[in-house]
Amino acid sequence: MEPKQLIKIATKSLSVNRSRSFLTALGVIIGVASVILLVSVGSGLKDFITGQMQDMGSNLIMIVPGDIDIEGAGAGGEAASGAFSSVTVSKLELSDAQEIERSLPQIKDTAAMVMAPGLASYKSESFSGQVIGTTQNYVNIRNSEFEKGSFFTQSEVNSGRKVAVLGYSIAEELFGSQDPVGEKIKVGDYRYLIIGVMKEQGGQGSLTSDDKIFVPITTAQRQFGIDNISLIFTQVNSSDEVTSTIPLIEEVMLRRHDEEDFTVIDQKEILSTVSAILDTLTIALGGIAAISLLVGGIGIMNIMLVSVTERTREIGLRKALGATPEVILTQFLIEAVFLSVGGGIIGILLGSGGAILLNNFIPMAITAWSVILAFAVSAGVGIIFGIAPARRASLLSPIEALRYE
């Protein structure tokens, strides 16, 4: 029997039951589309975050509170998540930052930071943002650009003045088209004079400046009653010096601290840690979607089994007219594979199309491996879940089948 004719018989059976074929394939369509979509969300997020971190510059070193095992973090997400949580009580001090900058000549700039949530209000408008207390060099390290005005100076930091620089969204929210510079906003029970507005940066989370209120670190420590600081940023002269500078910073820090209650990491380490977390997230998302693909496959098996029962007489007739058991087996297998592969192709189109559309709102990255994997799994699902019904059909006795009502 020609393979072309076998395929013709199978496609004919599928098209005779068009709506049932479509509904059966729908499970696979949804499964494949969701694998592609969710993996795109995960890898899009990873591309976005690592991209933003790379924008920070490769000559950056951070000192964070707590003794974190960064080596272990690269391998799995669990230890890595500790790097960004604030479960450890910070023992870092403002003077640590000053000491590092003073004693190491290869360090260009140092900025210390404290963070606290704060509700900013101006007249009847209010905005819930994050207050960042920092030092004057913050703008140099982050390459911040200004829409209006400028950042605070060293003397304003030293004297703990109540001045603030607003992120772009917060300024827009509170002031609209009005110029905020020179106005005063209220944060908690402090009134800050606005001296500058940052340019729009885009993005979300801790990496964007858009929803932050920047104030001198000394002022923030006083207002929120914080003695320690959350983070020290340092920038070395060139990225070649990063690796050699880390132990020197550790040395300076150890001289000032009794134990290793801090961790010195560079951007590369943070990147690999973040990547590890986001890879785990992507795999988890893909795994959840893969379950729906499996359910789709079981759906195919279910319908094919029902179909074998429903078409018992047809199978009996085909056998009486000369179809061998192998031919019947192949026919039903081809039907199952066509349903799953057809569903897989439609799913790929829908998933990729959806990812491209959603890319306008959230970062998405379609990955080749997810498309190939989803397609291979859907085809495999068709074969595996098609075998049982096809075997049942091929083993039917033609006499019993023809007699079946």
Binding site: R313, L321, G322, T324
Partner: protein, 226 residues
Amino acid sequence: MAKTKNILNLENVSKIYQMDGVSVKALDNVTLTITEGDFVSIIGPSGSGKSTMMHIVGCLDTPTSGKVFLDGQEVSQMSERQLAQVRNKKIGFVFQQFNLLPRTSALENVSLPLLYNGTPSSQIPQKAAEVLGKVGLGERLGHHPNQLSGGQQQRVAIARALVTDPSIILADEPTGNLDSKSGVEIMDIFKRLHHQGRTIILVTHDDEIADQAQRIIRLRDGKVIN
């Protein structure tokens, strides 16, 4: 001399079924010969073994003991796969229920046996159309079974049986589901085929139908009684 060629030989054929541990002898040591060009009816009440006889003659089943020769070839020991190929080449089935594929045109229904015997795809529609023309349905090639009357559906089924040019046409109560007028038409087609030299075996419980054949084989309790 072609007239005397034996197309079907049953030698001491028995078929025993096991039902709930009890052996039931459906065919009991049956020996008979059908020659080429015969128009034979097999008649008997229900339980007489005529269905079993039809299954064995139609190569749908093999006997428990005894030998069956079809067109000189022993079929009683064949595997399911070999039997399928013999059915395709040598037997043309016509059923009481027509057994046409629904939502499938008359032409495609008649094409079905050709799909299973390696006929090149390019020749199939032409052959199927030709046979449909012979049963008077040349104008209805594209009609689906639900657009045809019972008699027309049975004619499609006859065309399907003829399309492989089989050694035997095996009809199981072919008029059982038809009104009397359509029944007469179908019997006329069988008579015409007989005159053209076809070997026809008609299984029925109806004496009136059986009498129209050239030869009658009566079965009772698994035995040939005439």
